[in-house]
Point group: C2
Chain length 600, copies 2
Amino acid sequence: MAQYFSRRNLDFLLYEVHHATELTKYPYFEAHDRETFGMVLDSATQIADTIMYPHYRDVDRNQPELKEGKVTVHPQIKAFLRAVGEGGLIGAGFPFEQGGQQLPELIGSCVSFIMMAANNGMMYIGLTSGAANLIASFGSSVLIDTYVANLLNGTWQGTMALTEPQAGSSLSDITTSAEPRADGSYSIKGQKVFISAGDHDAVDNVVHLMLARIKGAPKGTKGISLFVVPKYRLTDEGTLEQNDVTSTGIYHKLGQRGTPAMHLTMGENDDCRGWLLGEPNRGLNYMFQMMNEARIGVGMTGAAIASAAYYASLEYAKERPQSRRLNEKNLLDSPQTMIIHHPDVKRMLLFQKAVVEGSLSLLMESARLSDLVRVTEGEEKENNELLLELLTPVAKTFPTEMGVRSVSEGLQVLGGYGFTEDFALEQMYRDIRITPIYEGTTGIQAQDLLGRKMTIKGGKAPQLLFAEINKTLAAATTYETLKPYADKLSRELRRLHEVTQSLLPFAAEGDYERYLMDATLYMELFGIVTVAWQWLKQGVAAQNALLTRNPAGEEAAFYESKLHTMKFYFHYEVPKTLGLATRLQDTEVLTIANDQTVLL
Amino acid sequence: MAQYFSRRNLDFLLYEVHHATELTKYPYFEAHDRETFGMVLDSATQIADTIMYPHYRDVDRNQPELKEGKVTVHPQIKAFLRAVGEGGLIGAGFPFEQGGQQLPELIGSCVSFIMMAANNGMMYIGLTSGAANLIASFGSSVLIDTYVANLLNGTWQGTMALTEPQAGSSLSDITTSAEPRADGSYSIKGQKVFISAGDHDAVDNVVHLMLARIKGAPKGTKGISLFVVPKYRLTDEGTLEQNDVTSTGIYHKLGQRGTPAMHLTMGENDDCRGWLLGEPNRGLNYMFQMMNEARIGVGMTGAAIASAAYYASLEYAKERPQSRRLNEKNLLDSPQTMIIHHPDVKRMLLFQKAVVEGSLSLLMESARLSDLVRVTEGEEKENNELLLELLTPVAKTFPTEMGVRSVSEGLQVLGGYGFTEDFALEQMYRDIRITPIYEGTTGIQAQDLLGRKMTIKGGKAPQLLFAEINKTLAAATTYETLKPYADKLSRELRRLHEVTQSLLPFAAEGDYERYLMDATLYMELFGIVTVAWQWLKQGVAAQNALLTRNPAGEEAAFYESKLHTMKFYFHYEVPKTLGLATRLQDTEVLTIANDQTVLL
């Protein structure tokens, strides 16, 4: 079987960079140690190797279909859901008392990474665990008893049902309505689109975590409530009956074809019931818990597909002879060289590796922060929360936007073969393209970063981030070999700070349109710097291991490769900030205007 | 019908920027004027509108299949080939005496643009005209009489048959063999892969322009000859008989599915005959004529798909309401705004437009040079040739690499809908991805640019280019509004020159591996500057029209839009040179090494 991720790299990031075992010092995680973490990763790898990876292509080739109101998915999906359900992987992060394993999200994020790298078409369980988590967090004991266990054992599917035909990025405009009924439930009416895993035959029930507006609620986001709307509702006798949720359409997609994206209609026969989760009109606040989880999950999907693409390209480049090295062009009698020896190919591969491992490290940083939010208190907890909030849009965007580019470079490594269905790259190229769109497009994430996260609490979040980065800079400066890179990153931090300062006056004046005009470029700049930090962090760990442990053979090569890729990132990717900063400080306004004539 | 290109823009580029009518002063083109040019473009548009565009999606959905040795393509392909054959469009650029219209390539390139924007899956006729042109240029009168007319009327298909399984980018390694026969023809044996339009049922014969090695020929590229190898050969009685060319495989591809890519086997039964074109061992020289045409043709395909994507995104953005403007977020009672009013969306659209119209202008510059090569003599001709040779890899690469990115931004404009098959963007995203691979990957083009074109004849080609750019700078400087942009471009030229100077010593030392290590980044830098020149040229023409013709209404808006997009290109795209130049002048070598450990 071809490689699609590196366990050695996961272990490096877990234990040498992000110090996963430190989490076990907190009482909540004290049942765990490196051994239990390893067992979970082994179990995920086992399922990924046997049930997921072998079906990567045929899940794509046999996409879900909607016929006579029924959605049929690839039979392997059911096997997969049973395996992860029985293996306890859906609810691994849940508390023991809810049937979970109290596993850190840091480990859970690695489980997602492994599985999405093996077969991202099986994008089902993040939605289920997110939905279960929302119910567990805000639901009544009746709701919890009814839903959580069935979700976590993989027999029921969870979804997030936000988007409506007229309200995609603009949740304030959703119109799905909820009217109170005498029995305490609500009568739901409306339509939702793009509901991933929104209906399928691999489970016995589908449980939608749905945003709707209670009749008479305030306009805008302050009038949105969150409901549990199952496909089948429980009768008083404990049996399941139809809940008037109809699959009215299925989207055929460019990629990620293993998971159906549904158009759902609720209440066609005035018989769709929903159960309010938490308080009325606070639905969007609750939903943000799931959305933030999902954003990091989508970032992880980007990193995972990019990982699978990297190893596929690397394998090809090591085995494909073509041409001679540039200084040996005239040696026609010599055999052709493997293309990995061509600098241009090596550049593309190093780019892929730098994106994959830099993204993964950033995502693990975020996952670790969410663990710390859970186990810390007071100001410490608040700081962890702020930092996580700041990093979430970045951890969603960098791995997906750069993932798209890295998979494209991976396809390019294969030349004409990369464009054919004989190799997996073309599918990865299709699959990953949704990730900068899912759960808030890059533009939305960028507005969240610059428009909200940079300014909340008087700009405390970036201060916290800079403090964290300064810790890494201090550590790096103790190594002669890393000092030049620490200096580079310091310069980048100053540049980022200057750019931010040049923009903030627009926000202060209330001119948000001007302030956020180039937020997407700001996000790109911010992402490059943040991942440079993650690479320096990896550099410190690698340099430290080389000096203190004196490894040999493959182990030494692993650490040398880390340092090499860190250097690559600094020399090839970081300079892109120059152009971005120039544009962001440029005073020419070209994208704000009422008239459309500029686009004739 | 949705718009897929702008005739107004084509006319602007043809007559106001590239002065197409000036060509008609040369005797070879004297039969033409703006009216005949317009008729040809009308005729192409008519075919594109009625026969091509309406089948864009179903040609993709019903891809060619190989069954029992026969390749079936979509029935519309035959209608298309008949129409362009009868309309004289395949051979429009051929001399009158060969049945052509002696039309400038500048106009021919616009015909390709229109057709590839309408339906790039019908990528057949550029291959046919290229093959016919090779035969007309280097063939005996017998070969010309046998093939040219049937190719130009669309009943026979031409191909370029270069690539072999073991020789893609490395043509010196091709092994298809040719053994002289008593009758003057050659016995051909070997395999070719990725032969576009290499076999199909919409024509009566397929004529391969094939590279092969005559037994005993020198090794490497100096032993390659060019043959005409038809699927069916003419008997002495004038009938067609099988020529032992077998379709052994068909590639299923990510995109451009309308055109089959074939794996062909020649001489399985020792009965495949080829006819030598020109002299033995000079085949690659001849083939470069077709390859250079094809490279510009692929660049044009990139620009054309990007054009279709731009208009599709623009239409969506004008009609899709979502959210409110950023300074009106709280006006929940107001209707949602069209997304074109969001700066981030407008930025993406302006990026698309800047790529499409900048690429198209560069391609037309190249086409005009090929016309001048034909009609000029002596030093003038030589200079035109040198400049065309320099621009060819750039005109192939910028429109394709940036085209891929611009179509991706176009898909992003549609959000989730862009990822579905309900809109055409997902197909365009798939279709365009081959263009940075076809006819020499971006890496190969970059090596051609830096490794060959920058240094031939003592570096005369870039001198000629800089002289041309200086003419535009001089013209721009006469307008107060354009002077800042002329200054920007001057600075970019100096930067490009400095970068080049910093690299040339490696070539002088014979260290080509180091010299070309980052050639792809050099290409990116070179492309940005070259297209900045094309945008300034368009700016000069637009500013001139605004000042001298005092246009109103839509005409004024057209020119204002040109100036606006020029500004966008300079403010958003040109700053990318900063990072590229920094990397290219950086002394750290990270992609040259014998060991593979850096990629663990």
